[in-house]
Subunit: 169 residues, 2 copies
């Protein structure tokens, strides 16, 4: 039996599809850029960052993490023609609130020995300072040999309290 969350998906999607008129859009992003941001539930990238359907790749993970995004970014740039990256972290991010050892302790408590072993080598990639986190990730991408120098890379902070974005790197 479908869960309430699955029923919500089916019902809301049926409404969306009933007035859908964008089936003609091409695979490569029309505006040739990629956004890397956090999975946080309080961020709606299309609305908050002004991304029209078909315009940009949107990569999201815990923290808006650059290292986790390399596979996707190389595909975006080298195979699908994008040439600009906006990296956007945000205030109130969960990744600002814990250290790796805290996460591993929770994993061990909740998933037991097999979960602990499965994730033993994992860097959860928390970061203690928001603006420095943005600066570090922009630096990482600029220095990465996987991203050509011709790609424009900037770093931003989104405020979940106000809906405002500001450039920091």
């Amino acid at each position: 039996m479908a869960s309430q969350i699955q029923q919500n998906l089916e019902q809301k999607n049926a409404q969306y599809a009933s007035s859908f008129k964008e089936g003609h859009l091409a695979l490569p992003p029309a505006k040739k850029y990629a956004v890397v941001t956090c999975m946080d539930a309080r961020i709606d990238p299309a609305a908050a960052f002004g991304i029209n359907l078909g315009d940009a790749h949107v990569i999201r993970n815990a923290g808006g993490n650059a290292r986790d995004s390399i596979r996707s970014l190389v595909i975006s740039e080298q195979l699908l023609g994008t040439n600009e990256i906006l990296l956007i972290k945000h205030t109130g991010c969960g990744m600002l609130t814990f250290k790796n050892e805290d996460a591993h302790a929770v994993v061990e408590k909740q998933l037991g020995a097999s979960g602990k072993q499965e994730l033993s080598g994992l860097d959860f990639q928390p970061f203690p300072d928001l603006e420095k986190g943005v600066e570090d990730d922009v630096k990482f991408l600029k220095e990465s040999k996987a991203i050509p120098d011709s790609v424009t890379i900037t770093g931003w902070v989104y405020e979940v309290e106000t809906g405002k974005v500001r450039k920091v790197a």
Copy 2:
């Protein structure tokens, strides 16, 4: 000087922030679920999948790839209390169109020897069959010791041509 893409972000975001009223939302997703889907520019998860602001984590990468999402999913479930995953791949996905060796050949041609070396061990994780790709990723998550058995996991296909979603696993 800000690029057109950065100017678009600043201008559209100023409009968004001017009527923003959701600054009170809590960090943990209100509806306790996570969506894993593709970075593809033709997907607007909030609109197409009926996700209200604050309700769900949204993880996006090339292909809506489960393996790439493990770090984010463990944080979502173990630290932020989600207990259901919707994995949604889509028709017309770029990941259906190439093989690993094709991607590595493009990388070598466009990024040269240093880029080739940087990415030498990378699995770009293309998949040749859409529905099987969904099934394989759902199986991977269900079998992963990093995801407890109590988490509900389903797999879906989104049609970029029609805006419709359908359950396949």
